[in-house]
Symmetry: C2
Subunit: 226 residues, 2 copies
Amino acid sequence: MKLEKVTENGRRRYDDACGAALGMDYVGERWALLLMRELLLGPRRFGELRSGLPGISANVLTQRLTGLEAAGIVRRERLPPPASAQVYALTPWGMESEPVVLALGRWALRSPAHDTSLPFSRVSLMLSLRMLMVQERAAGFTATVAFHLGEERYVARLTAGDLRVWRGEVDAPDAILAGETAAFKPVLYGGMPLAVAEATGRIAVAGNRAVAERFTGLFRLPDKVE
Amino acid sequence: MKLEKVTENGRRRYDDACGAALGMDYVGERWALLLMRELLLGPRRFGELRSGLPGISANVLTQRLTGLEAAGIVRRERLPPPASAQVYALTPWGMESEPVVLALGRWALRSPAHDTSLPFSRVSLMLSLRMLMVQERAAGFTATVAFHLGEERYVARLTAGDLRVWRGEVDAPDAILAGETAAFKPVLYGGMPLAVAEATGRIAVAGNRAVAERFTGLFRLPDKVE
DNA sequence: CTGTATCCGTGTTGATACTG
DNA sequence: CAGTATCAACACGGATACAG
């Protein structure tokens, strides 16, 4: 009987020199790529990861974190006192997986089966800015916009057509947008004017309103196929 | 008891509006992305797919083909008589997954665990040209090179920094390179001069030798991390 | 709160054998 | 060659219980 080769942990491998096959060895297990997605904007704690990955169970999350750490994609970090909590972060190579996540998202969103009403993590929302910005609309526009999503704070900075996004604070943003994740979906991807979301109280706008409105109009959900 | 939602076929979904999650619903199942890879250079028959996917079993291949067809990624086509055989092809949207495969490969090949001695399908070799061409080396170079890999024929055409690759024939290529897949790996990615592979009889060169040598030097395996 | 270690029901996977 | 049927192994998710 021919035995299939498995990894040290007993998982299945493809045994193929092709980079795509090796890539699927790493990210093809259930939850692995989404876990990496949740870390692309900065380190997260165990509980934060669980919140961003609805449906994952604690034991599976632990297994994935262990496996990705062994692969050199994730690293455990201990925050300095007094926080002194453990967080999980992507290694530099793990961070380089961002183009994979963005390309996969751009492609899949053209599926006729895409359902925008499904839940959407905060990281997904902020990552979608980089995934779905329309380059031509961004030409010649420079702006720093702070997003306050519930308790979490993110920053998006557009400079010379290059959009950077990270979790954290920023001094003197041009505008601040505050609201829950779901409130941003119609504004960024459904053609709803920012003023409407503001009038209904779902998004609060501070700072330069013109910048806020232009910024929120930079993005487009790709057309569906068929 | 809370029931988890599943697809029509009973498979697990992520139920996440994020494009990356939807993408993993489609390509995250074992073998799915590699199957798509095998179709990126043109339609293939059932048996050709099995050859390019060492280790897949017939029933799983059937399941994946059925699933990808239902998702609108793969299409069954019947060749016109006298061939009259059935082949599987990517739909236009399925073809758009190429950037995902290329990005995944570029990222994963930087893994310290990448093993170049593993098997490598013909499609993988030809796709690696698009995956790993160094743009700067291609500047100002125009060439059409035919690859004869065993029984199969591929064409790579470089024009204005843009490399196209497809399975098929071409009239009057600048050069023809003939050999087995394994013979090309050291030449394209191991720094072996084409002349050496030729001297050992592993690759036969016809046509413009200078074009052949410059062309084979356009590619580079990314540096490994750590 | 942050995990780890169980057990268990279920579905997915893949090897083998088999049919058209 | 193309695909189906069967069956065994195991990965997954849920539900605990439990440790630091």
